[in-house]
Symmetry: C2
Subunit: 649 residues, 2 copies
């Protein structure tokens, strides 16, 4: 019932199907209080773009409708034809004491009123709970989740969608365990619960840890709801961590208290002397008029919240969600702590990072250098890159891009004297000069003045790299040394073909160490752009094996190249294994759907070039995967691999 | 014709009087193209809050009105009764070549059509101009400014306001010279010109340097217009540097190109797939509808621009303009370079910094520690603070606030063994523990995880401080050492009265070294809050000399305290010298208006407690100054000192 339409790392644009229509994600679900409908759901849809709302089944069950009944379809009671999610009252039970309803009762009640997304009654764990308390809560939550799943089975065909809840307090292993177990039951949506106390006390670093621990246990095919996260300053960060759904009672609660929500914080309307917002509610009123108007403030809060959801969606589409998050997290030092926590998870986050993006990478502060895509760059340099054997290594400082073109004169000067290789000690780590057009090196912008932290990190990265890179160099030279210094390394010139070196290095970085040797075994012809001189196509023994993409400097794989990689790399490397029954379609050039993917190399990344094989490891096609390996295996909907060339049997 | 209503550093809320009414600043002046009125000025006022517009006199002069004439009142021609500024065509002359009009002609023309703000025809300096070229341009610009001022004199009573232009290219000394000379002529507004090429090429670091160099030469009583700065991503930064007026042709030019302006950058409307804005124009349309609608995009651009002006105004009011600027400058690495440039000017910026603010200081990144108010903290610690004489200095790491309350147990443990003083090595620099409630120490929030840059800077600040502080300490101890280590410094306990020490240290930090000795000479009684235990009033020999403010930990000065400071500190220290003819009103407790200020101590800062004296240095009152010393002397309007107590003769 959920499919990924587009993605930026863990952040995803999705489509969630319900019995009352489908919902774009990330989505914000305004909370409708059936006792006090401030803004009717229909109006929320028309004016703010709400596609789905949420209401509380526990309150509904105690509240007679106009017809005097607590029964009847929830869509009629809320006068809304779109999807409706219902909550179980677990939070109320936790905050206000015993709620006189069982899990079975409230799940059945939600089913009876036609809720589209039915939430189980989970056990709320406080951040103060010990591991043992949290663990007991998880056990009971899982027992109830099973019970709820069984009730869903009873309903038969076209049942409601079941929302399972991940609890576990601030104990990461409990969160992960709960998430893993929930993923095995018949739930359709995973909700991360028990986080309101963390948000209320601005413990955003703990929030990040909790969301990551939960997400690490969840199957990627489940849409993730972050319970109670109704403040727009959190949406971007939460989406970056893979959350898809948010509920907001805040728009109304804040309005009742005269408080206006913004992406960079909260203002008491009565404190404002100037109009600080462009929304329709603010544009029509003076700040003083606004301060006394609960409904207008609620409209403001909704307008800001839905616009932020739109910005997050657009950022996922554009590929600059990290930039948005890094900006948003400057709103409060506690959010900055949340952002800084991400670097500790760079390795895990990297596994969801696409090969490249269409938008440039912007440096926004010292946190940027720890982004997962830069972590990958440094890791692959150590694991996949082999420098050419030269006596001298010349290091250039960070500078204008593309590096090779800018440093051409300096390189030529050195190469007249001795045989050298060239590295740029960039803000993001050491960059062999022949990789300067590979994403995100050329496609990034850094300020002229770098943070000390970044300079030191760059130094550390360079040292780590040099220690493992196996250079036989004698000296490091930072660009301004005299030729006398270099001349002691004078030797017979054996010039490097930098264009070929770029092709070789890129192939190894993209596909793995050894890919260049495998792909380029034979007579290599490089077809270059007449305008830019950049490599466009790579032919080996007159066969077109690779095309180099202008926008990111990576290769598109052709069938002939795929054959070479398939011979050189043992399974499961680079492979997506598909159902043998559908393989013939892929051989004919048809795309691979996630439903038919049996397995995929765990080292693949979204947007990677892949080998599509059948279970016998026969190569059936080459193409580009749109999902990560875990996702390809887990999803039943959506495209997994866009096939470029099929290989007829 | 300009007065300051409120301020945050160089940023100011002002009121600019014109013949067609007064204008709140910071203000945005939408450019009206008389040949192509996309949105009529009247509508801009009603819908977006525009109070003033700008149009181009050079174009008006070539464009016949509906009546077939180029003469007639500009207010009629634009159908706008509010203030109208006219531009001279200098930019057109520069971009499109020779404009066939002289400075005298265009100034007289603007006067003839009833323009409220008449702009001289300056000579546009390109960033590529050499110092000599820029200097020649400045000479000619100044000659024309004198000519324009003479024309203004001819007009007689109730003349137009004259806009003088600061040129000088990227050469700071030329900018400053031009600004100084312009300030001496009869101009009413200073415009910083020649900056569009810097903005177009994202040279924001150069822009910051140019604005600062210009502002350093300008008299503070002149409102400052930044020519061509129409992108909302720049407003906050420009206001922080003392700009008050902006013109925007961008709202229309961008709209024509299908481009939408946001505070964090620019989007091509056609590239948007999601609704990313809350403004009325965006709320009513799908992104696709918007993309084809130039007028709607222009409305969007205006809504966003005016809302940002409102946010800047509110930030000045609230005292968090620095936080806003630090957030805004994350939108692009080139803006971050502009922000990072500010630390080089911390010492100059500090002279405009108020003593304290009402809002807490938020750490947003490594740039924060270089804010002028923190520069002041470190400077005053070196210049004004005298630590108590103790053998041992104990250093605590950054931690929870207020430091003294949090470290009470650790302090007590140490004090049982030896006589020690205590410092916190905070993110912002070393903090003697008795100053922990002084703004912004307790009134600041930093993340738990500090940037390496900040940690290193903190170390450097601490070392600088310790080198000059004259401690007779033997060891530094970071909080966890054993008592054995301390016991070698064991001596007869001479406990510090930390409450009195707080009063002494605060007095010296606030008024200057020696203030504590001067103020506390006699029998000291401290009146403390029953609830918090914090000092409220300081009495010496039964006379109330100081009150300590809860919100910022600084003192309010009473008349008796003023007398003591007046005796101890020779003029001009702490003094505001007023006209003898109005001094009697101040003696009676009336406030001091800027018009009657003759001079003020250059070391005073906005919100400082001051001694109001007559030219014979007789003390007439004590109070709080609302302006800086240069401003008090330069302004003819507005309040300079809020008198707390007058001293009857």
């Amino acid at each position: 019932m959920f499919e990924i339409v587009d993605r930026d790392g863990l952040g995803r644009l999705g489509r969630l199907a319900t019995r009352h229509g489908s919902v774009q994600t990330p989505a914000l679900l305004p909370v409708i209080n059936p006792n006090n409908v401030l803004i009717p759901p229909r109006e929320m849809a028309d004016r703010f773009g709400a596609e789905i709302v949420i209401t509380n089944a526990y309150i509904l069950r105690r509240t007679k409708s106009a017809g005097g009944s607590v029964e009847g379809d929830v869509h009629n009671r809320l006068a809304f034809e779109g999807p409706i999610m219902t909550d179980s009252g677990a939070f109320q039970q936790h905050v206000y004491g015993d709620v006189d309803v069982t899990n079975g009762e409230i799940v059945r009640y939600q089913a009876s009123i036609g809720s589209d997304l039915v939430t189980m009654l989970d056990v709320f764990s406080e951040p103060s709970h010990s591991r043992a308390e949290a663990s007991a809560g998880v056990d009971e939550t899982l027992r109830r989740a099973k019970e709820a799943a069984a009730i869903k089975e009873e309903v038969g065909p076209d049942p409601f969608a079941l929302v399972g809840v991940v609890q576990g307090g601030v104990h990461a292993p409990e969160r992960t365990r709960c998430a893993q177990e929930i993923s095995k039951l018949g739930v359709d949506v995973a909700a991360i619960g028990g986080v309101v106390p963390l948000m209320e006390s601005y413990r955003f670093r703990d929030l990040v840890q909790v969301v990551i621990a939960s997400r690490q246990g969840l199957s990627p095919h489940l849409p993730v709801h972050l319970f109670g996260a109704g403040h727009p300053m959190l949406f971007a960060l939460a989406c970056l961590l893979g959350c898809d759904l948010f509920d907001s009672a805040s728009y109304a609660k804040y309005a009742r208290a005269g408080r206006m929500m913004f992406v960079d914080g909260t203002w008491r309307a009565s404190e404002l002397e100037h109009r600080i917002c462009e929304c329709a509610a603010c544009a029509k009123r003076t700040p003083a008029e606004l301060a006394g108007d609960e409904r207008a403030i609620a409209e403001h809060n909704l307008a800001v919240s839905f616009a932020e959801i739109g910005r997050v969606r657009q950022a996922i589409k554009t590929g600059d969600l990290w930039e948005l998050v890094e900006r948003r997290c400057r709103a409060h030092p506690a959010l900055l702590d949340g952002l800084k926590e991400l670097r500790r998870h760079a390795s895990w986050l990297e596994s969801f990072e696409p090969l490249s993006r269409h938008s440039a990478l912007f440096y926004t502060g010292s946190e940027t250098v720890y982004r997962p895509i830069l972590h990958r760059l440094r890791t692959r340099l150590q694991e996949r890159y082999s420098p050419p054997r030269r006596k001298v290594l010349v290091m250039f400082p960070e500078g204008e891009k593309p590096y090779m073109a800018r440093q051409a004169a300096a390189m030529e000067k050195v190469e007249r004297v001795c045989n050298a290789h060239f590295l740029v000690k960039s803000a993001f780590g050491p960059v062999p000069i022949e990789l300067d057009e590979m994403y995100p090196i050329s496609q990034s912008l850094v300020p002229d003045q770098l943070d000390l932290e970044v300079l030191e990190a760059s130094e550390v990265f360079a040292r780590q790299f040099l220690a493992g890179a196996g250079y036989e160099f004698g000296i490091l030279w930072e660009g301004d040394a005299t030729l006398e210094e270099l001349s002691k390394w004078r030797e017979e010139p054996t010039p490097i073909d930098w264009i070929l070196q770029r092709v070789r290095a890129t192939a190894d970085m993209q596909f793995g160490r050894g890919a260049a040797d495998a792909l380029l075994a034979g007579k290599v012809d490089l077809v270059r752009s007449k305008n830019t001189g950049r490599v466009r196509n790579v032919l080996v023994d007159c066969r077109h094996i690779l095309s180099m993409r202008a926008h990111d400097g990576f290769f598109s794989l052709r069938a002939e190249g795929g054959k070479a990689l398939h011979r050189a790399f043992a399974k499961p490397a680079l492979r997506v294994v598909v159902d043998p029954e559908t393989a013939e379609f892929n051989r004919a050039g048809k795309n691979v759907f996630a439903k038919f993917v049996l397995a995929a190399d765990a080292n693949l990344r979204p947007m990677d070039e892949v080998l599509v094989v059948d279970p016998d490891d026969a190569l059936v096609a080459v193409g580009q995967c749109l999902l990560g390996p875990e996702e390809m295996a887990a999803f039943d909907r959506g495209l997994a691999v866009r096939v470029r060339e099929g290989l007829p049997p």
